[in-house]
Amino acid sequence: MSTLKVNTLEEATAGGATFYTAKAWVTYEMHGTASIIADAGVSSLTDLGTGEPQFTLDTALPAANGTCWNTAGLYSGGQEYALQAGGYITATTHWKVYCGSSNTTQADWDVGYSGVIR
């Protein structure tokens, strides 16, 4: 495997726009015993309570900002729904997400997808 080391990724043509990359992503489950199904750039998931996982990055971000996403793959019981979800970067080392339902109640999703871009 070879490694490409650069400080900034720029578009080769057009305006030379900078590309911003995902620092980490994770596929997780909160159903039963919480677990990480697959990930990159994550050292752990912390199950904080119902529908509330927090992820710790392998390596700290340079600053505690950026953006994160959290989407449901499968709701409880393997059902597919449009659901409420949230999340935010709490520190250079963590981001925390909320797994919702069709109302404001938090729920333990069967499968969720989350990550951080900066």
Partner: protein
């Protein structure tokens, strides 16, 4: 998948139920392959950020570039066993006041994965058993 989980409580948040730390398999592989820096690298970053939070300047805080780069540039500590890696992860990912101070009862336990309840009906009432 790791055989271990870490259950912990935060004495600074008594209303918070017990929390369960789940290690990443990829991270464990890195630990076993000897790819981790000394834990002090992460502590130095955590200390700086904690101070910025205490001083109300977290919104504009940026890590010192040299300390940040040490995450990749510091000499690696060598291969760890799974048990050593879990201990390292406790020190990296669980707030320091939880595991570095003595309380009148244990605030964390490293347990086998199968010892964590899979019935989550009363998840928000979980506590560490005495």
């Amino acid at each position: 998948m790791s055989s271990y989980r870490v259950i912990f409580e935060d004495p600074e948040q008594p209303e918070q139920p017990a929390m369960v730390l789940v290690p990443s398999d990829n991270w464990l592989e890195e630990a076993k392959a000897g790819l981790l820096p000394p834990i002090s690298v992460y502590w130095a970053l955590q200390d700086d950020e904690k101070q910025a939070i205490a001083e109300g300047r977290h919104d504009t805080f940026k890590h010192d570039p040299e300390k940040h780069a040490a995450q990749w540039k510091a000499p690696r500590i060598g291969p760890l066993t799974e048990e050593e890696a879990i201990e390292y992860l406790v020190m990296k990912d669980i707030p320091r006041h939880i595991w570095s101070q003595e309380y009148n009862r244990p605030m964390f336990k490293i347990v086998k994965t199968e010892d964590v309840p899979s019935d989550r009906q009363f998840r928000n009432a979980w506590r560490i058993a005495a």
